[in-house]
């Protein structure tokens, strides 16, 4: 196995590995239902993209292309922010529904409608600021 890896130039190994990661992540995103796993799958896809990018940069003679590395760093920053945001949404969804999955099926046309312009009338039950403290204290226990 190590012989195979040594014969493969980084210019081929990394892009191929990246493509495999991308495909694996896509598979996970589609097949898994738990939202944390789906977010992980998206992160694996992202790592695949960055691996392809770095592999391409290391192709050929001489030092690797610094532009590709700068792009990767930027991409990682974006990915971290997106992941943090996605996890925050999952936490909120889990607090509201008790589940960390999106229930499949078409949207219910007759479901009650959210209308934020009316929220203030019952703000003490629905406004996000008032939900968080109780939910957090519940978690600590």
């Amino acid at each position: 196995m190590s012989g195979l890896v040594e014969t493969l130039a980084p210019g081929l190994l990394y892009p191929t590995g990246g493509a495999i990661l991308f495909a694996l992540g896509l598979y996970g995103l589609i097949r898994r239902h738990h939202l944390v796993l789906r977010i992980l799958a998206l992160n694996i896809m992202g790592s695949g993209v960055f691996m392809v990018l770095l592999g391409i940069a290391a192709r050929g003679e001489g030092p690797p292309d610094p532009v590709a590395q700068a792009l990767t760093l930027t991409g990682i920053v974006v990915a971290v922010s997106a992941t943090a945001f996605a996890l925050a949404l999952v936490v909120r969804l889990a607090r509201l529904t008790g589940n960390a999955i999106i229930l499949p099926g078409p949207p219910d046309d007759d479901a009650p409608v959210d209308d934020i312009s009316r929220l203030e009338h019952h703000a003490h039950t629905e406004a996000p600021e008032h939900i968080e403290p109780t939910a957090r204290s519940g978690e600590r226990r």
């Binding site: 993209v49 990018l53 009316r118």
Partner: protein
């Protein structure tokens, strides 16, 4: 390059981006005043875009031999980031400014809770800044960044109400958006690996037909189709757009979706132009017909006002797909397509704002129980109907001009000897009938006999802004020449 008009345009574009980013930053660090910053900013940006547009049109055809390109920080491409202003970008900047102003004014009435205001305005201003950057960005990687800014803020706004339905819709929207962005990014990486540059103009100059380009084209187009909710990857749209607050729905259906479509168009007119084959065009066109039929059918059976409008977005975007085979036969048809997208964005935003007013007055938007409110709020129903008429494409509205031009292009392909052109013509004409059916479904209860009720009081903004935007959408028919002329000032495009 030393023409005064050129210098004006250069600083005008850079200034517009700086201004919209400054507004977003100010609103973020000063949330108590965010709504005042937002309204003042919306007016300032509109004035700015108006002046920029006037300078752009007055620069005349000669300076437009090349698009206005601004090197940020004086770093030229290939290393630096370029801003890129041409007729296409100018048109969409102007569209964004108009819809954003209407939405901002409407939000003054819609989001009046103090805490919600502090959360809504910074997010909305970031979304708007992201859209502005998206339309003038001339660098493939920077486009990915702007796409992410737009999608993350859009998702946050969908989740804004914090209820289970909204958060669940937002979560689905986020997963779709991240997948689309990553697919787009993978395509960018492949292009970068093949050509070593990211600048769209440089990429276009090196465009060729090869396996890497094909792969990149598939990945980027699929990612953007996912984000634009183009058939067959559209199912996430209705829950997200339908459960968002009204001003957010208006921006999502009017502008965010149009932004993704703009990128598809720009890529296929430039970098991927050599890859477009007639068979590919027919495939995309068939997807468009399917979207038209499916979206209209869903709109005809949906039980909620906002669901009808959300599904009609899927249907209307079918037209934009049908336009692809037309563009292969008649290259200048792309201007008509963009004009159609502009009219659609105006009309759809107006319909969503009107629907939001009715929903607020009634406390729900179930169509069966909405009759008394519809009869009591005729001004809003008139706005809904007027914008709806533009969607249907009745004479003298913007929608009529757009569909007439599309039909003309379709008939052109038939005359050019393309048998499948007949299908496009039938779909374009039939889609108008379907649109008429679901628009009438929304306004018909207003004409029935029955109880009349005004429902809960709404602010004057929520009463009048939908009507104003609907009038703009209808009047867009009169500005067709101007828009098409502006679009013709796009260097490099047919």
């Amino acid at each position: 390059m030393t023409l005064p008009g050129e210098a004006w345009l250069t600083s005008g574009v850079a200034g517009l981006i700086a201004l919209s980013l400054l507004l977003a930053v100010l609103a973020t660090v000063w949330p108590r005043q965010a709504h005042r910053i937002g309204i003042a900013g919306a007016l300032a940006v509109n004035a700015w875009v108006l002046v920029l547009g006037a300078v752009f049109l007055n620069a005349g055809p000669e300076p437009m031999a090349a698009a206005t390109r601004v090197a940020l920080g004086s770093w030229e491409a290939p290393l630096g980031l370029m801003l890129h202003l041409d007729g296409l970008a100018m048109t969409l900047l102007a569209l964004t400014a108009v819809v954003a102003l209407a939405t901002s004014l409407y939000s003054l009435g819609y989001v009046h809770d103090r805490i919600e205001r502090r959360q809504f305005w910074p997010l909305w201003l970031w979304l708007w800044a992201g859209l502005n950057m998206l339309f003038v960005s001339g660098d493939a990687f920077n486009l990915y960044i702007t796409l992410e800014v737009v999608s993350l803020t859009a998702v946050a706004l969908v989740a804004f109400t914090g209820t289970a339905a909204a958060v669940s819709g937002a979560m689905r929207y986020l997963l779709v958006n991240l997948l689309g962005s990553l697919s787009f990014l993978m395509g960018v990486v492949l292009l970068f690996g093949e050509h070593g540059v990211l600048d769209l103009v440089l990429l276009e100059a090196r465009a060729q037909v090869g396996p890497t380009e094909r792969m990149a084209a598939v990945l980027m187009t699929a990612g953007l189709m996912l984000k634009a909710a183009l058939f067959p990857v559209h199912v996430w749209l209705a829950p997200a757009h339908g459960s968002a607050p009204a001003p957010v729905s208006a921006v999502l259906s009017g502008l965010v979706v149009t932004g993704s479509f703009y990128l598809i168009l720009r890529l296929w007119m430039g970098v991927f132009a050599p890859l477009a084959t007639p068979a590919f065009g027919v495939l995309i066109g068939l997807l468009g017909v399917a979207a038209l039929v499916w979206g209209s059918a869903q709109a005809l059976r949906a039980g909620r006002l906002k669901s009808i409008v959300a599904y009609s977005t899927v249907a209307q975007f079918g037209y934009l797909l049908i336009a692809f085979p037309l563009m292969l036969v008649e290259p200048t048809a792309w201007r008509v397509v963009v004009f159609f997208a502009v009219v659609h964005a105006l009309a759809k935003a107006a319909v969503f704002l009107a629907a939001g007013t009715l929903q607020h007055a009634a406390g729900h938007d179930r169509l069966v129980d909405l009759g008394d409110i519809l009869r009591g709020r005729l001004r809003t129903v008139f706005a809904l109907g007027l914008a709806g008429v533009s969607l249907m494409g009745l004479p003298f509205t913007g929608g009529f001009v757009a569909k007439y031009l599309l039909l003309e292009a379709g008939l052109g392909t038939v005359l050019a000897g393309s048998a499948i052109g007949v299908l496009w013509v039938i779909a374009i004409a039939g889609g108008g009938l379907l649109a008429a059916a679901y628009v009438l479904r929304m306004v018909a209860p207003a004409f029935h006999q029955g109880r009349i009720r005004r429902g809960e009081a709404v602010s004057a903004w929520m009463d009048w802004v939908p009507l104003g935007l609907a009038l703009v959408a209808a009047a867009a028919g009169l500005s067709g020449t101007l828009v098409l002329y502006t679009l013709s000032l796009t260097p490099g495009a047919p």
